[in-house]
């Protein structure tokens, strides 16, 4: 066949067919691989629970008190048990604040220090006051707090919080 012919040469035809088939084969493997890699993200289990923190009257007034609880979920082939902590601050007989003990900077756990009246984070020296406001250090926002609609006190006087994750 002459070079000037506008018709497809055997060589060009082969190249196109190979490119086409190669693309299909690449997609058949490549696209599922993306799903394969991000699968644990898509299929992550969510937690949506009301957690009882015990009788409200047991918490002292004016002193943030830590309550720890665990939740278990399945990750892949293992049961993962995570421990969570919340600080309960009873301001008066009826009004209560519940803080997450997770530092808003990079998720280390904060501790209440009575001497300085602050929540201190051991990782980057952050300090929050008794109301969760940042008084020192790098955190971008105050401590996370449960809103009023996320807190409940049942008929027996138990304090409950709406706990979600994922």
């Amino acid at each position: 066949m002459a070079k000037t012919s506008s018709r497809l040469s055997r060589r060009e035809f082969t190249a196109i067919v190979m490119g086409f088939l190669g693309s299909i084969m690449g997609a058949v493997i490549g696209l599922p691989l993306i799903g394969y890699i991000i699968s644990p993200v898509i299929k992550a289990k969510k937690i949506d629970d009301w957690v009882s923190l015990g009788a409200l009257e047991n918490y002292p007034i004016g002193i943030p008190t830590l309550f720890s609880f665990t939740r278990t979920k399945v990750n892949g082939w293992e049961q993962t048990t995570n421990s969570y902590g919340v600080y309960i601050l009873r301001e008066s007989e009826s009004s209560v604040k519940v803080f997450s003990n997770v530092c808003t900077h990079l998720s280390c756990r904060v501790n209440w220090v009575p001497e300085t009246q602050t929540f201190n984070c051991p990782c980057h020296d952050a300090k929050f006051d008794i109301n969760g406001n940042v008084v020192y250090g790098p955190p971008p926002r105050p401590m996370d707090r449960w809103g009023d609609e996320e807190i409940n006190i049942d008929a027996d006087g138990n304090l409950l919080i709406h706990f979600t994750e994922g």
């Binding site: 493997i29 599922p32 691989l33 799903g35 394969y36 699968s39 299929k43 892949g76 082939w77």
Partner: protein
Amino acid sequence: MGVKIFEWLDERLGLKEIYNTVLDRRVPKVNWWFTLGSASLFLCLMQGLTGIFLTMYYVPDPTKAYDSIEYIMNGVTFGWLIRGIHHWGASLLVILVFIHMLRTFFYGAYKYPREITWLTGVGLLLFTLGMGFTGYLLPWNQRAFWATTVGTEIAGAVPPRALGEFILKVLRGGVDLSAVTLARFFSAHIWILPAVFLALLGIHMYLIVKLGISSVPLDDE
């Protein structure tokens, strides 16, 4: 734009030269039996690719191995596909390299100057079988356990008796088929055997490019 970038790269990397040397080689007029080498190479790449991704979820520990594969098969998106390709590809690869070897043998393609291509090919065949054998244990199910019991016992039958027993213990990492066996089979399967395999494959491929492939022998040859 694309052309300019390509030319800039080509001037420095010699891309066209690589293409011409490796893919645009002159080949004699041959038949379909000559495609088995390329097919084997393609399957090797698939085994490598899917194998790499299987290690993302697989755990080589007796208490977790089976569960992790169960998770790959039933929990992970397209996990069944990735493991399925690896599982069936392994068997298909053994078949392909075997027929590839038979073609080379019956066409006399192992003769001068291609003896080293043949010898590295023998190594590649053995390492393929080695990876098949070590991979077989990894699911840690009944079949895997007893196949490896039998396989290592066969290796242990090497005379004299003391040597055979030593080989058996080295393969198992002790007298028993244990967590140590699973860990070392995994290590051999994904690191040691593939590393040597790749070295041999490099020589094999280099020689194919350097020497070219043999033609189909004539009737009176």
